[in-house]
Amino acid sequence: MYSEKVMDHFQNPRNVGEIENASGVGTVGNAKCGDIMRMYLDIDDNGIIQEARFKTFGCGAAVATSSMATELVKGKTIQQALEVTNKAVMEALDGLPPVKVHCSLLAEEAIHAALWDYAEKHGIKIEGLQKPKSDIHEGEEEEAEEY
């Protein structure tokens, strides 16, 4: 059901782990729905993401999207990181099954949550960043066609 890229990132996840004294940490999702992602970012004084790490409780897609998301934001500026959308993560993984799309949304939210934490800690405001929902499943749409 998963693409080779997803399987690769699931089997060999990049950047698993914690960052001590991270610049920003964000946790999204909830156990009820079976996905929790925690993203650690290390951001230097120029606003460049030097390091990104994650921990994820969730399915194969959740792990793979977390892994890919950390890869995608590493070395980026904050503004560039904001452009790492769930679509970008999915594309980088050669797609996800329809029922797993919410995992990529979670990854996007995890980045935002970590950046939000960074901004709060540093008392700054990041252009275009809204306070992330803690639960990305809220208000999620059912599959279009219902039987």
Partner: protein
Amino acid sequence: MGKLIYLDNAATTKTSPTVVEAMLPYFSEFYGNASSIYSIGAKSKEAINKSRAAIAATLGARPEEIYFTAGGSEADNWALKATAEAYGAKGKHIITTKIEHHAILHTCEYLEKNGYDITYVDVDENGTVKLDQLEKAIRPDTILISVMFANNEIGTIQPIREIGEIAKKHGVLFHTDAVQAYGQLPINVDEYHIDMLSSSGHKLNGPKGIGFLYIRKGVKIRSFVHGGAQERKRRAGTENVPGIVGYAKAVEEAFATMQERTAKEAELRDYLIDRVLREIPYTRLNGHRTNRLPNNANFSFQFIEGESLLIMLDMEGICGSSGSACTSGSLDPSHVLLAIGLPHEIAHGSLRLTLGADTTKEDLDFVVEKISGIVERLRSMSPLYEDFVKKLQKNG
């Protein structure tokens, strides 16, 4: 990939090669329509009659009480919808449990939309139906009690005899979904006061796409599939002769080996359960410790999610299943695990392993070793485990 260790026999089983062999002549040699008059059709009819009689005998039923269907789901749908229809004038109340298979639960939801009132009885923490609650739920307009014989996820065996007695006492029909139990446990429809019973071929090394509904003589339910006069006019459709023959062969084998096979499986199951609980911390067994299907083990590993576990097991050649939402494409984890009181995050981390006749101790040693490593690895990636350890450290 090396050897395959298939531990998902509750999902489906390998069709036994002897079953396939029994089916083969009915594809291209004795392919006649059983309803036709010529000799090649009579061959089919004879094969069906023999199969029906063999199956009936295992239940203490009469051949004419066995109606072949396309599987367990159809049998469940038939039993519930047709009873609702036939006895709707008497009443519109049906009692079932919170841990039935979706073939029952979704059919009940359908009936609710059509004016029926369904009571879903609770189970205790072992997954055993609360008998007092069940009996109290009976009303004058109750027409049917439907309780599964044994649960497909956690393996708990229900007090079917007691439920049958309650149903009988109150003059209510009793249906049991025995899809998981049939072929694993001895069942006698008279002893247990069962009026209807569902079964499915592929759960006991028979073919997929065939099942039956036992309907006690006198129960006045009609067709679910209307059309030709097959199955004593109660289930239309050209008979799936190879499927029926294969089914009967599988039943014959399952009953011939039942005692020995299930004793061996139960021993292996207990070995597996003991090792897992002993060797992997923060783990619980779901379902009743002893009163469970001989081949069923179901664990919850705290802090991890089931699908990830399954995929990693698959990479080691081990097939299991999980009650995690992620495996089903829905958001909620298994209704069965929630019904026995598991919190969501623990329900998500469940693993069901269901043994087969050819499962060995060596297989299970390999499996325990692999689970152990994978659980550790997934925990090391889990934010929930991280929080838990930090809390431990803080408190410690």
